[in-house]
């Protein structure tokens, strides 16, 4: 999918609405929309609905591929049991304004939904989606993507990346999909100059420099091994003391992908639905027998950390964290993953 030589263009800021208007008939456009001081990715019908002066969406755009609630199929109950497959949407979508970190999160969770059993719900939407990113010029307090080999202006996991370089956007086409999206609207774009490229680099550097909080993981492999040695450390208990066991961190995490499956019914019909679930809840692992392999909050907090920084790297060779800082921003008791991981590195085995 990736194109070898990235094509680079310029889109004047005042042309952006035109571009969006041009692609709106073909694509459902999810863009950042402000509501009650928060930003959400929502379908828009006209460019004026969106806001691009934002740091990041409260709910990560993983929700556009991996719906919080999804009907897997419906069935009829009673005498004539029938299963009716849910129709998978063939709607083409553009996630506009997605941050590079969130785009990376999708690449991170892709293998889970792919593995031996392809998840049709996620993959259909993922394949039908074009990610048009927007570089993060003003990282927030808790942004730390650079600690995880990310960059606020990296086109790596995107189809297209836009970078605000003053009165215009520096446009990088990073995939065939991205190219195709621009193809029909080529007239709005002009090729980027070296000066533009330099400008982009400057903007990126400024943004990188603005990220002041750092998580200290020097070597991923070493850190994974380190965690293996401190699994039983009392450290986890001290972290978990504060934890309330709410699911805010998991629901808002762009790489968390756990779900629950439930049947919802009326008298004669029903649907099997899946909803986001959270490993922070005791019910998550509770056996019908009453046994719970992760009975205490300590087990669950540790599992969450290990899942991202130990199990995931073991299985998929990457840390399942992009450094977006949402879990830090939204923890009611200031459990701070930067702090947790940095200090874990210092714990003696």
């Amino acid at each position: 999918m990736k194109v070898s030589t990235m094509e680079k263009y310029i889109l004047l800021k005042n042309k952006l609405p035109e571009w969006i208007n041009m692609i709106t008939p073909t694509y459902t456009i999810f863009a950042p929309v402000k509501e009650e001081d928060l930003v959400f990715f929502k379908p828009i019908t006209k460019p004026s609905e969106m806001t691009l002066a934002y740091s990041n969406a409260i709910v990560p755009p993983k929700a556009q591929m991996f719906h919080q609630t999804e009907t897997m199929f419906t069935f009829t109950q009673g005498k004539n049991i029938r299963v009716n497959p849910a129709s998978l949407p063939d709607e083409k979508i553009v996630v506009f304004g997605i941050r590079p970190c969130d785009a990376k999160s999708l690449s991170i969770i892709d293998p889970v939904f792919t593995n031996d059993f392809e998840d049709p719900y996620y993959l259909t939407k993922r394949k039908n989606a074009i990610l048009v990113g927007l570089s993060c010029n003003q990282p927030t307090v808790n942004c730390f993507c650079t600690s995880l080999n990310g960059s606020p202006a990296s086109p790596e996991h995107l189809d297209i990346l836009l970078t605000d370089i003053g009165d215009k956007y520096y446009v990088e086409l990073n995939s065939e999909k991205g190219k195709q999206l621009v193809e029909k609207t080529k007239k709005l774009f002009t090729p980027a100059t070296d000066a533009d490229s330099k400008k982009k680099k400057d903007v990126e550097k400024k943004a990188v420099d603005a990220i002041t909080r750092q998580m200290k993981i020097n070597n991923v492999d070493a850190f994974v091994k380190k965690l293996d040695t401190i699994f039983d450390a009392p450290y986890w208990k001290t972290i978990a003391m504060k934890c309330l066991g709410c699911g805010a961190c998991t629901y808002l995490c762009p790489t968390c992908h756990c779900f629950d499956i439930q049947d919802e019914t009326t008298l004669d019909k029903g649907a099997r639905i899946r909803v986001w679930d959270s490993c922070m809840r005791p019910e998550y692992t509770l056996h019908a027998s009453g046994h719970n392999p992760r009975p205490e909050r300590m087990n669950r907090v540790r599992n969450r950390v290990y899942h991202k920084y130990n199990y995931y790297p073991k299985n998929h060779q990457m840390i399942a964290c992009v450094g977006c800082g949402r879990c830090i921003d939204n923890c009611p008791v200031n459990i701070d993953i930067i702090d947790v991981i940095t200090k874990a590195g210092e714990v003696k085995p």
């Binding site: 009650e36 709410c246 699911g247 008791v333 702090d339």
Partner: protein, 327 residues
């Protein structure tokens, strides 16, 4: 505000006692204006304790959150006391928990802090969105003085205070073993201005307001988990048979969840506002809780969390309770 040295000394004294397991207080958080709950098991750990206008958390939530794994053979139950730093509204939650017999009074040592109001972190981060280093916040009369990068900034209290604090009727903890500092008397009366304004609106407007708010709900249940009085062993939303509230996240289920949560706190909510603070989706949850608080005050002359001997609101009745809308 409280003298921190006095607070630490008190906590050190407590944790040195054989019958005290640990004391829950506040310490400096990891960035900016964050303050975080802190557990002192030893006098050294008590050194971390602080108290400032940033100490918003209601620590009484931890009283019912402590997990007690089943005892092993021969193991004895740890019956040592837990110490707790409480503000006015936190103390009401403690009273309510004790009243509901969730805990025994003897199992607690309560350090009361007369409270002159705490800062809403949402309000302060809007003003200083990129503050990473910890900030010293002091109170001076009607102002807060913030020392940021060596410079002092004076901000009127009203701009930063939680709304709940502006009409607090019980700023001095109604229950305590030790009271640090002088009692703060309230001259305020909860006016429920916001509630009354909304009440008067047309049904359609009210529904628009709330459905929009509930639509945002992602059912992370932070509101529930942060609430000191939501301590059911199994919450109704987690029950599967019967399943009253479907796990689907949509307007109907979200509305019902939020209504049930509020209803469940009828006559129990101490008004600490933690639910709203914890909500990542900015749902004005206290407006639901306060509404019920107002109603039960008016209908049944009932105030939660101020009297240890009070019986639960919904477990009793008066023969002449309101009949207004009964056919």
């Amino acid at each position: 505000m409280v003298n921190e040295k006095q607070l630490r000394d008190e906590v050190k004294k407590l944790v040195s006692r054989d019958d005290v397991k640990y004391v829950i207080g506040y310490e400096q958080g990891t960035y900016g204006f964050q303050v975080t709950p802190s557990f002192a098991f030893t006098p050294e750990e008590a050194e971390r304790f602080i108290f400032s206008p940033l100490c918003a958390n209601n620590l009484s939530v931890y009283l019912m959150l402590e997990e007690k794994p089943p005892l092993r053979k021969g193991e004895k139950e740890d019956t040592r006391k837990v110490g707790l730093v409480v503000k006015g509204c936190d103390a009401r939650a403690v009273v309510q928990i004790l009243q509901e017999k969730g805990l025994k009074r003897e199992s607690l040592v309560i350090i009361g802090v007369p409270c002159t109001g705490v800062i809403d972190p949402k309000k302060i981060t809007v003003k200083f969105p990129h503050q990473i280093k910890p900030v010293d916040v002091r109170e001076e009369g009607n102002h807060y003085v913030l020392t940021i990068n060596g410079k002092n900034q004076k901000i009127p209290k009203d701009e930063l205070l939680f709304e709940k604090c502006k009409q607090c009727e019980y700023p001095t903890p109604v229950i305590h073993d030790v009271l640090l500092g002088d009692e703060v008397k309230s001259t305020k009366k909860e006016e429920y201005k916001e509630i009354k304004t909304l009440e008067k609106k047309a049904l359609k407007e009210k529904w628009e307001f709330w459905s929009k708010a509930f639509d945002r709900c992602i059912r992370c249940y932070a509101c529930r988990n942060v609430c000191p009085l939501c301590y059911c062993k199994e919450c109704i939303v987690d029950q599967l048979s019967p399943q009253w509230i479907y796990r689907s996240v949509n307007r109907s289920e979200n509305t019902v969840w939020n209504l049930i949560r509020a209803y469940h706190l009828a006559g129990r909510c101490s008004g600490c506002g933690e639910c709203e603070r914890a909500c990542p989706m900015n749902i004005p949850l206290t407006m639901l809780n306060k509404k019920i608080e107002k109603d039960i005050k008016e209908l049944f002359q009932y105030v939660a969390g101020v009297n240890l001997e009070e019986k639960p609101l919904l477990a009793m009745f008066k023969p002449n309770d309101t009949e207004d809308t009964i056919l």
